[in-house]
């Protein structure tokens, strides 16, 4: 078996899931499909387990914030993006899942690809998207007591004062070299 063209991958998915593909497209020679989050696990399993496709690796999980952007195929604010790779066949593919602002929950792909664990943790850390079914959805990069999701477009670049909120350690007394004189310390010293 050999690598499929991007068109052939889309055709294979479309023929299997008639009507469940919201949109399709491509950029720089790599295609993607847009699917609903309710169909995510089903289509992911198909992409992984079908012998002609065999996407055995989930390269990356990330997200996009479309705040103040008009995107025709994704009307919602967020989209979770999955990058797929087939080691065996050597082709790649991309899956996008729209996520509405008021309900940022997506089913976890941990049961399909174990590699989703950390990718979903990072996406949760940066965008605040919940992955239902991820067994360990703690923060990955930011401190565990951090409040906020910094890659959301409405998060201020300089943060909300987190970087200024630490204990200050100060000297016992201010030191001024010009005030110090060896004469005062010990008048009978000669140098």
């Amino acid at each position: 078996m050999s690598a499929l063209s991007q068109e052939a991958i889309i055709e294979a998915v479309k023929s299997q899931f008639e009507g469940k593909i919201i949109a399709e497209g491509g950029h720089n020679g790599q295609s993607y499909i847009v699917i609903d989050r309710d169909d995510l696990i089903e289509i992911s399993k198909y992409l992984k387990e079908t012998p002609e496709l065999k996407f055995d690796m989930l390269s990356d999980v990330t997200a996009v914030d479309h705040l103040l952007m008009e995107v025709d195929e994704i009307p919602e604010r967020y989209a979770v993006v999955y990058q797929l790779t087939s080691f065996e066949l050597g082709h790649r593919f991309r899956v996008k899942v729209p996520v509405p602002e008021e309900d940022t929950v997506v089913p976890s792909l941990y049961e399909v690809w174990r590699a989703a664990s950390w990718g979903e943790r990072e996406t949760h850390d940066m965008y605040g998207i919940e992955f239902d079914g991820n067994p360990d959805l703690r923060r990955l990069l930011m401190p565990s007591d951090y409040d906020g999701f910094p890659l959301r477009k409405d998060y201020p670049l300089r943060g909300r004062g987190e970087r200024d909120d630490f204990q200050q350690i100060r000297r016992g007394e201010d030191f001024d070299a010009e005030d110090q004189s060896t004469e005062e310390q010990s008048p009978h010293l000669t140098t």
Binding site: A115, P150, F166, Q167, I169, R170, Q180, L189, T191
Partner: protein
Amino acid sequence: MGIITPGSNNQPKTLTNDIPVIKGTGAEKLLENKLVTTTVDWVLKWARKNSLWPMPFGTACCAIEMMATLSGRYDLARFGAEVIRFSPRQSDLMIVSGRISIKMMSVLLKIYSQMPEPKWVISMGACASSGGVFDTYTLIQGVDQFLPVDVYIPGCPPRPESLIDAVIRIQQIIDEGHPGYLSDDARFSPEEIERAAELFTPGPATGGGCS
């Protein structure tokens, strides 16, 4: 220190010019000026400034320049500061070389608090001194907001000569009588150290996620 050669007019003459010597009148004269009396304060300063034990807090590219400074080509050993200690308990000069994120700042404060006093701090490079180009939510805009920095080194990254100059400056301020001690209320309480340890204890990081 302490090597005295009798002078022609029976005055002590030292091999180094800067050692303060009390002129021999009593016991010194009896012992033919073969010993030198000075002050404990002076000896302590002399010992401290000439055997600084740096604690390298290298988090970025400045640390590469720091390694170059320590290695043979630039050879910080010439200035008595070659004994790099990776344990804060054994060091008295912290070199913050690199950008400090908000997650690392608690670690930095904890390690600094573990160093015995007296202690001094060099803030090496633009990032440690001011945040550098990283004016973002996650980066400390200068460690001197929270630590008592003694010497700043500009540069991105600074050359090893700059770091050597900073170490010499530290030696100078020690010589001038810089106390290097903290105030009582500036030290960490045991509860704060405990809390920092809880916040940054790594959990089961892989969590089965690597299969």
